[in-house]
Subunit: 343 residues, 2 copies
């Protein structure tokens, strides 16, 4: 029975504060290319892996706020990926099928078929898109903006981490919906991208704004109807007094807070009352039923060039740890992807 | 033309931090008991005045977060009251009518008819109830709990400032709706009231709980479905990690924060994501259309003794400033009312 090399990214230790590359190691194991007898598992060859901020939660030993356990030390990280079925124990999948799955940071993974998010059918689009615009990042932007945000034509929309995997799509969806859209990001290049490639009306570099409140007043003299929240902390505190009556804050993430032992305090929450604002957190697991509807919506837009998607692809599992860690310093420009099989 | 003494409570200066009795004065003016020729105003004799936390916002000179101006210095405070029409310039009202109105802290007030909230018709119930359970306090509890909170039978409900004007009703409405209800308050007497008179399942004195998070875990081992937020700050921060999946935080007030130059920072907002919580602020002005429906709901409950209402009534305008200031130290037990005309 064929035994193959199976390179993995494993977690060396639980993390406190900002994750470092040295919290992970690259190791070489082996794997038998065979699904165990009688099992309905799938053996996958991982092609692309997704770097997602939520992975940080699994690196904390205790008090995991999601209550969903942690990564096992010295085992391959878990994460989303685009993979090809090498051998299938499940009748719905066959060798050669492409899937978007909750897989592991390694070359080959044996996973239960229940971990498949989507069988990939539109193979004329880049495969990496299935962990981005055509995957959970896209669905998150779609469900968050349209279902949680309840946008109206003409709404003033602010997106933080706007050039990221999700933010760039929220801005484009908002523009398609007739909204005025401003994004914040952490470098001049990202700001240029937002304005020149992604069609945002305005964008600013939050690192160059000593007074975020004043910046928001400048871009939203009439206030913000929808704030798509990806960062939390100081940005949220500056947004609150700038919300418009009956505004919505869609809480997708708070990446600026995930590595802080003591999160920044948000002091302006009373504006939720004054402006009658709804602030709502969501997780994409509640919206998986929208996946088919979302793909019907977004695939034609991509084909027509009305939605574009910026990816930041690193080559090789070896570069995975740096890519993952880079999310928290904003190193990535667009969706951070690890290309596993092209190495 | 009759000129009468018109005692008033006026604001001496704008307030920074906690308001003090000395920020207000009692003065004696006079008033002509006549509506100006051609005006549609009403001349009211004020019977009961309502002490409300929101009044604090009008005492701040700058940066009034509601954007609705401030009290005029050396003029009578504005506030809600139950009044009797002495003379009417408007065809809908006649001498002797009882009204619930946005009036002033004085014996007699000349106000536009547009400031009437409600013409009082059920005069078999205590008149003071119309600034409490039958007025905006009651409607706030009703709209906040039922419209914003979307309660389900069996929900776990936590109410802060639970013996206050609004909290005591939220708890009773929740019990009538088949919920499990726990309230927090700031004294043993209030806790006894909640458990023995107002029908809360449990209640605790937050001043005697060094670890609010642990207290909430004790009373809500399965988490909180609805938090009716009256206080903000540390209490909110302790509630967030104790929310249940798809919980709702109804933000009615944040009284603990109104007098702080620098509000307390809330650090646990990322739990909005993990638990998919909706946190929504509201102001009662958006729900005035529910007033008739609310009265149909609550009046029979009061008559049958299924809803009770605890008031803290002080006699005489002279005692108004102390009563108003007392809201912020929790001096009042139940709805704080000033009886103006019985002095």
């Amino acid at each position: 029975m064929a035994e193959l090399r199976n390179k993995q990214v494993i977690l060396n230790n639980y993390v406190v504060g900002f994750p470092k590359e040295s919290d992970m190691s690259i190791v070489e194991g082996t794997i038998t290319l065979k699904v165990p007898e009688g099992s309905s598992d799938l053996l996958l060859k991982n092609l692309y892996l997704s770097c997602d901020p939520y992975m940080r939660f699994f690196m904390t030993k205790e008090d995991n706020p999601l209550g969903i356990g942690t990564y096992k030390l010295h085992s391959a990280l878990r994460g989303d990926g685009v993979s090809q079925v090498v051998e299938s124990g499940h009748p719905d999948y066959k060798k050669g099928d492409l899937v978007y799955a909750r897989t592991r940071w390694e070359e080959y993974s044996l996973i239960p078929s229940s971990e498949i998010c989507l069988k990939i059918e539109h193979t004329d689009l880049p495969l990496s898109y299935y962990i981005g615009v055509l995957g959970v990042s896209g669905l998150t932007a779609y469900a968050g903006f349209f279902e949680v945000g309840s946008p109206q034509k003409g709404d003033n929309v602010f997106v933080s981490a706007a050039s990221g995997a999700i933010g760039q799509l929220v801005g484009q969806f908002a523009k398609l919906n007739g909204c005025y859209v401003v994004g914040s990001a952490g470098s001049k290049d990202k700001v240029d991208l937002l304005k020149n490639k992604l069609g945002f009306d305005e964008a600013f570099n939050y690192k160059e704004e000593p007074d975020l409140n004043a910046a928001l007043k400048r871009y939203f003299p009439e206030g913000i109807d929808i704030y798509f929240e990806n960062v939390g902390g100081k940005t949220l505190d500056a947004v609150l007094p700038n919300m418009r009556l009956h505004g919505r804050i869609v809480v997708c993430g708070m990446i600026s807070q995930y590595n802080l032992t003591q999160p920044e305090g948000v002091t302006n929450l009373a504006h939720l009352i004054f402006k009658r604002v709804k602030m709502e957190g969501f997780l994409i697991i509640d919206f998986f039923h929208l996946f088919p509807k979302f793909l019907e919506f977004v695939v034609p837009l991509i084909r027509e060039g009305k939605v574009v998607y910026v990816e930041d692809i690193v080559e090789g599992l070896e570069n995975g740890p740096a890519a993952l860690v880079g999310l928290f310093s904003g190193r990535n420009v667009g969706k951070q992807v690890v290309d596993v099989s092209r190495e």
